[in-house]
Amino acid sequence: MAKLETFTSRYGVILAGLGMAVGAGNLWRFPRIAAQNGGAAFLIPWILFLFIWSIPLLIAEFGIGRGTRRGCVGAFAKLIGEKYAWMGGFVAVTPIMILFYYSVVTGWTLKYFLAALTGDLTGEEPGAYWSAYSTSIWQPILFHIVSVLIGAWIIQRGVVRGIEAANKVLIPTLFVLLIVAAVRSVTLPGAERGLEFLFNPDLSSLKNYKTWLEALTQSAWSTGAGWGLILTYGIYVSRKQDIVLNSGTIGFGDNSASLLAGLAIVPAAFAILSLTEAQQAMAAGNTGLMFIWVPQLFERIPGGGFFLPLFFLALFFAAMSSLIAMIELATRVLMDAGMPRRRAVFLVSGAVLVLGIPSAVSMEIFENQDFVWGLALMISGLFISLAVTKFGQERFRNEMVNLRKTDLQVGALFSFVLKFLVPLEFLVMFGWWVYQSAVVYDPEGWWNPVRMYSIGTCLVQWALALGLLLAFNRGIARASTREHADVEARA
């Protein structure tokens, strides 16, 4: 059996990590959340949470993946004992459930890139194209299938020829496209109104707890910290690699991509649209901003016919680089149980093709899944911090992170953040979202499991996943910790 593949260089690791982290959320969520929550005042806690949530969790994930050379389930079983395999199972199930609808999102971005290229988006009534596309049955299914097939083709090629090679094209191109779009946006006459909206330091917003909670949520969702994806990529990182430096680079790189996306969208919106329209665009939600307002925006920009396809190409690249990380996570779990890579990819992509269809044909199902499993990601982050605490914070630092050849090492502060701050942040952030569900989203049906944004729907779906994982804990623990020649590290 083949030896374990490892990334060929630090550059390869960082690009793969950035590919995982920089996704649709950087482009369609960050600009409007930042603009709605005090502009620069939002950016201060957003940067702070990079250091006290995202980067420590990224380091922990790299350490667990590299230290155990297993996917999420096997990693938890090897790190803290077979009876905790279910926790790793939940960390794996969450991004896999997200994968089932993220492939649909990737399909939307591909469709919009092609439509922008052929000029189909211009001259449409606001929202008409999106409405026709999202309510049709076959088109979202078709582009979902194409996205899954592209992602599966990349992953079956392996770590170096697949993940690393794809990200070496996707990520530098994505950054160049974002820089081009940002330069176009900020050089428009009137762009300074958007810059004022995005960067005006309205420090009174810092007194509002919502600003802090939105900043923490944005950092947690955007960097992908605690999702199990970096844990999976960590399997392929050599012991020579400095994972503290790599985590910092990925965290700052993700923030930088978000800022570029903000500069590409907000100044253009305020330069081109009326103030009321620009504020409507910022409040239109993820898909509303991206698929209804952005095409209109570029239609009115000089040279917009050239910039619109480039923008959607950037969005497609961002989504695809995250999609392949999710496919790899699921594939790795099967490979740990002894399945060859190609067969595992075949099974995973087959499941995604089928189970993604409900989200492709129904926005209600899509939004329900996005809500339920988006919240579950916070639980995954908590599980990773608890696993490190259970293993022993000091032991983890010495055996998994601060290796002989690393320049940057973490100390007691890292352990304090992971042991105390991350669980505290989880409680506050999770409690706030549950409160929002009960009071804002669905005050009448918050308990009802068939309502879209209810606590009831979250609890039922999580309980189903956790119940199955607990019931089969022993089996999944043993299957995922078998010895294979494949996991003999080359480093």
Partner: protein, 41 residues
Amino acid sequence: MSGRTLAMMLFILALNWGGFVAALLYGMRRDARDRGLENDE
């Protein structure tokens, strides 16, 4: 755009992009040093 907004924008961009580029460059220097050590050995 006010001076405060401009200053804040430059600060935020410098912090994030500065951190990103500095970490990348530091990593590249480390890799070059490690390769040199391997060649010496």
